[in-house]
């Protein structure tokens, strides 16, 4: 029988390898990959092997950058910054456009190189990674062009230190570099040491298109090199994509340095299948969710939640679908699942799978022989996993999902949100009302309805909770690389020592002596006046040294109680924006009625112009109330037949630490936008002038604010700030105080990676409305909702 005749019987696909001849030629003339600093290739630092994980073959060698190379790179970026940032956006756009064009012209080369370096399939590098890279540079060429009109009053941050992972090497480079350069920053980028090659090729492309030296610098190496980049004092902004663990290390490392930070971290994203879903569509969704890129995807749908009634059928069909997945040579065009990035990663996956089984779950895996060499992991999924299973909580970062069942939408949401992470979610239902409801209730930065793992440069991507903060892509992504152009250097706040002394006074308090009733302010928690847990109060003195009253000395437990009350007040975020506006208007009106009384108290407290401060505070209160229903989300043009919504969501429970100065205006400027956007707030008012806040609480108490929406705890700011920063229920924290306090807050917030906004002890013009607009933006996090449509 002829060969063709035989093959007509088997109808096998046969080998369909993509040629790697061009890449082998390139590798032959690239015996070692070094750094790219100030436009020059620098071959310094110890060498290690760069390995193709699919074959074990050594592709080339890699230099690891140490202190001197990182320093040189930062210096080069610093040197290039003035000229690069001063160029008109149009000129920067031309460079980005040229990069995009060059990438497009070398799609095949870059795809093959990426596949050989990372182990991911040629189908994915060719159809997903590299086209998205080009798209990202094109999109950001557009932002560079429009920067002045779209972001008036804003300019670049400076030198950006960027650290990217190995799972999408060139795509993550594009996500980092394109917006940074578009905004006028210069960059020191550190690729992952497991996958350094496409970054090196991109450096060559930058040479080819004539990117000015020093605008982009690349230093190679592992974690220690990354730490050098993040920690370098010449870096103004750090952007990191990688594990939550390392994200935490970086957060602590640069706490208090004033560096801007965005973190895109891990996930354990839910993939929710309702009984009314198109089940076949959902099955293919799983393929694209957890078996995409060998499961090495931060937003992989790795927790499959299936409605109980359809679960047996769904899991059976999933097992069946798994059988036709082809695992093997990633350069073969018929391969669905390629190689895991390294032997170490494979071991980590295997250890976790073993643990899952040891804990009693059943592991289902695709049948078939894996290649004898290389790091391959068969696709699979667990059944019998529960929320308590290790594998349900920990990122496997391999091609294996866990599964659970739910009974109804409420339970689906409960299970979906039962995680520290909040990166992405995927919701499958043909009932649009239900799907959107669930999408709205899931804590995730990106939600796909009836789809998964769809990306576009114009859509924001990023996480909530311990999946990080900051967004990449679109307008939100640009903001991470921009800062308000400020005037002269801000003044540093002069701190007033405050002594919260519960001991009896040695003097006679004027008030009581004159027949008045003494003021003893308690905490305002959960809609009630509450005594300090410590039972202690301290005297508050006015500008002239006279005692104005007593204030509760807050402690850790008062913060605990306040956060608990705020956590219970979730309804505030759910009411209509109109409703919130009405409540805040009412609050502003009530404040207005007591204008004189507040003016007197402020004057007595601060010795300043109380009337002026009250006037500004009332205006700001009305402004915030007016904004409650104006900060809209957007619909973006991304892919055709996809609605891509950007929805502004409140953080949840926010901590707000007010500065010593402007006790009413600063409090209103910080708290009112947070409330307007639907957050519940635990506020620590000016520790120097806490009686103003205590009186403000009286106004809040009669203004229809639901109990727990606003809580005020008085006492020593930094101590209370620390408790708030460490509290896992608090999602975001704003701190105004000292430089040391700012560092403390950023460090302490690393535990649950809450988003912080600290002032490093710099004074702010509380009357400036441009700052107020930034307050509103900081009071929300964006959820990107993808809804493909078609009849």
């Amino acid at each position: 029988m002829s060969k063709v005749r035989t093959l007509m019987e088997t109808m096998d696909y046969g080998p369909a390898p993509e040629s790697n001849a061009d890449v082998l030629t390139w590798l032959a003339r690239t015996p070692a990959v070094g750094h790219w600093i100030g436009g020059a290739h620098v071959a310094e630092g110890p060498l290690s092997d760069v390995v193709n994980p699919a074959t074990g073959a050594v592709l080339t060698q890699l230099h690891t950058a140490g202190e001197s190379q990182v320093d040189a790179a930062v210096q080069a970026a610093r040197a290039a910054f003035p000229a690069w940032s001063a160029r008109p956006g149009h000129e920067r756009a031309r460079y980005l456009y040229a990069i995009a064009r060059a990438v497009q012209k070398r799609e095949r080369f870059l795809s093959v190189l990426e596949t050989m370096d990372n182990g991911k399939t040629i189908r994915e590098t060719r159809d997903i990674d590299i086209p998205l890279v080009a798209r990202h540079f094109y999109h950001h060429a557009g932002w560079a062009e429009l920067i002045d009109s779209e972001f008036p009053g804003h300019g670049p941050v400076g030198v950006c230190g960027q650290i990217i992972p190995w799972n999408f090497p060139l795509l993550m480079l594009a996500w980092k570099v394109a917006p940074a350069l578009a905004a006028g920053n210069t960059v020191v980028l550190k690729p992952a040491d497991l996958t350094p090659l496409t970054a090196h090729a991109l450096a060559e492309i930058c040479v080819e298109i004539g990117l000015p030296p020093g605008v982009l610098n690349i230093v190679q190496g592992g974690g220690p090199t990354g730490a050098l980049v993040a920690g370098h004092p010449g870096v103004d902004k750090v952007a990191f994509t990688g594990s939550t663990e390392v994200g935490r290390v970086i957060r602590r490392q640069i706490a208090g340095t004033g560096k801007k930070l965005s973190l895109e971290l891990g996930g354990k994203s839910p993939f929710i299948v309702f009984e009314d879903a198109d089940l076949e569509a959902a099955i293919e969704g799983v393929v694209d969710a957890i078996w995409f890129n060998q499961g090495e995807v931060c937003c992989a749908g790795s927790r499959i939640l299936v409605q109980e009634g359809i679960a047996p059928r769904f899991f059976a069909r999933l097992a069946e679908r798994m059988e036709s997945l082809r695992v093997g040579d990633p350069l073969d065009k018929c391969t669905d699942v390629g190689a895991v990035v390294s032997a170490r990663q494979l071991q980590r996956i295997n250890d976790l799978l073993a643990q899952g089984q040891a804990e009693g779950a059943t592991l289902h895996r695709a049948p078939g022989q894996l290649p004898a060499n290389g790091c391959f992991s068969a696709p699979g999924f667990f059944t019998g996993t529960t929320p308590a299973s290790t594998v349900s909580q920990v990122e496997i970062f391999g091609p294996v999902a866990v599964t659970m069942t739910f009974r109804h939408p409420d339970e689906a949401v409960q299970l979906a949100n039962d995680t520290r992470y909040g990166l992405a979610a995927s919701v499958w239902s043909e009932n649009i009302s239900k799907a959107i409801d669930v999408a709205a209730r899931v804590k995730a930065g990106v939600v796909w309805i009836n789809a998964t793992n769809i990306f576009d440069a114009g859509a924001a991507f990023g996480g909530m909770r311990e999946s990080g903060f900051g967004r990449e892509g679109g307008r939100e992504g640009m903001r991470e690389y921009l800062t308000r152009r400020s005037g002269p250097k801000p003044h540093t706040r002069k701190l007033t020592a405050v002594n919260f002394d519960p001991a009896p006074l040695t003097e006679t308090v004027a008030q009581a002596a004159s027949g008045g009733v003494d003021i003893t302010a308690r905490h305002w928690i959960g809609g009630k006046w509450t005594r300090a847990d410590s039972g202690q109060s301290a005297s508050v003195r006015g500008a002239n040294g006279a005692v104005l009253g007593q204030v509760a000395i807050g402690s850790r437990k008062d913060i605990r109680n306040a956060v608990e009350a705020a956590a219970k007040a979730g309804g505030w975020g759910g009411v209509t924006a109109h409703n919130r506006a009405q409540v805040l208007y009412f609050l502003a009106e009530n404040l207005d009625q007591r204008r004189g009384e507040f003016a007197d108290l402020i004057t007595a407290s601060t010795g300043g112009d109380g009337t002026a401060e009250v006037d500004q505070a009332i205006r700001r209160a009305f402004w915030a109330a007016a904004q409650a229903d104006k900060v809209d989300g957007t619909v973006r043009a991304t892919k055709s037949a996809h609605v891509t919504l950007h929805i502004n969501e409140p953080w949840g429970v926010m901590g707000v630490i007010c500065p010593d100065e402007s006790p009413l205006l600063a409090l209103i400027a910080l708290v009112m936008p947070a409330l307007a956007m639907g957050n519940r707030v635990v506020c620590v008012p000016s520790q120097v002038h806490p009686l103003v806040a205590a009186r403000f609480a009286q106004v809040a108490a009669v203004s229809d604010l639901p109990a727990g929406a606003l809580n005020i705890v008085t006492g020593p700011s930094d101590m209370l700030a620390k408790t708030l920063a460490e509290h896992d229920e608090v999602a975001a924290l704003w701190y105004c105080g000292s430089a040391e306090g700012s560092a403390m807050v950023e460090r302490a917030a690393a535990d649950n990676l809450k988003a912080t906004r600290v002032d490093h002890g710099h004074l702010r013009d509380w009357a400036d409305l441009a700052d107020a607009a930034a307050d509103l933006r900081a009071a929300v996090q964006v959820k990107t909702l993808w809804l493909p449509y078609g009849a």
Binding site: V4, R5, G14, D336, A451, P788
Partner: protein, 316 residues
């Protein structure tokens, strides 16, 4: 038709098999679009797949100007679909899956194919619109079978599907199946006129419940004929029907399938969604007229390494 499984006997109409299935169109489109980018077949394998595609082709002429000589020419091509020297070089001996004609052309086709073992398929039931009284449509089937047709490609009343009159659709198809007798029946759903994938799924399921041996996408006369997303949904219906009833039904995409690349795409779809068993002529057919010419050119290129021209291959 030679089969190693019992003919689909149909089952009583049961809307619960389809009335809760809602097909998500963008998801089906996405799967169809990536199916063919996930697989690539090269060299000898590609030649084998193209040869296979020939054996799966219902070589078709359904034109108002068909004549006995035209049908004879088509049948000659069916007997020897590729040039002898190419077949020899490939080491294959091929015939097409069937020849498909209008009922009045059946006797000519039967004569021309006599002794070849190639079945004759006839469209019937007022093809392509099907808007004739049912008794006439059933009589047409019987007439074509009488004339020697081995397979009957019926069209459904789209009205029943568009209005959700599933029992009317079921009864009609069941009656047609009875009229076919021993001839195998392919039910043409005219998916381009059913429009939604959810309708396609439901109509597929009703046709199978009513006893269709094959479900077929299109007449070739609709504005939109066979597409991969529609085919994907029909394959899924076939799989679900098998799971529910234990019975096996074939699939025939027809209309608009013109190139060797199209043939490869549909074969990938079959292999991925239903497996090797559904790549045999008793369970899969292409309804095509011009596809063969493109395949011939590709096969000649495979043999000689030179690109070929249409005039080097005998006309169908």
């Amino acid at each position: 038709m030679q089969t190693d499984f019992p003919r689909n006997s149909g089952v009583p109409l049961d809307p619960s098999w389809f009335d809760r299935v809602s097909v998500n169109t963008p998801a089906a489109d996405r799967r169809a679009a990536t199916l063919t980018t996930r697989r690539s077949v090269k060299k000898d394998h590609q030649a084998a797949w193209l040869c296979k595609a020939i054996t799966l082709t219902d070589l078709t002429t359904l034109a108002g100007d068909d004549t006995p000589a035209r049908v004879q020419r088509l049948c000659a091509k069916a007997r020897q679909p590729i040039r002898a020297d190419i077949a020899e070089a490939l080491g294959v001996d091929l015939t097409v899956g069937a020849v498909c004609v209008y009922p009045t052309m059946v006797p000519h086709a039967v004569r021309a194919l006599s002794g070849s073992g190639i079945p004759v398929a006839s469209v019937a039931t007022g093809f392509p619109a099907g808007l004739m009284p049912l008794p006439l449509r059933l009589a047409e089937i019987r007439w074509a079978v009488d004339q020697g047709a081995d397979e009957i490609d019926i069209v459904i009343t789209r009205e029943h599907a568009l209005l959700g009159n599933w029992s009317a659709l079921y009864d009609e198809i069941a009656a047609m199946r009875e009229a076919c007798g021993a001839a195998h029946m392919k039910a043409i759903l005219a998916t381009g006129e059913l429009k939604t994938l959810t309708n396609v799924y439901a109509a597929s399921m009703v046709a199978m419940q009513a006893g269709a041996d094959f479900i077929k996408t299109s007449t070739g006369k609709e504005d939109v004929n066979a597409t991969l997303p529609v085919s994907l949904v029909m394959c899924r219906a076939i799989r679900d029907y098998r799971a529910a009833s234990g019975q096996i039904v074939g699939f025939k995409p027809a209309g608009g399938i013109r190139s060797a690349k199209d043939a490869m795409n549909w074969l990938v779809l079959m292999k991925e969604e239903l497996g090797l068993r559904w790549m045999q002529p008793d369970l899969f057919r292409f309804g095509a007229s011009s596809m063969l010419a493109d395949i011939e050119r590709q096969l000649e290129h495979h043999v000689t390494g030179r690109y070929s021209a249409a005039n080097r291959h005998p006309l169908a």
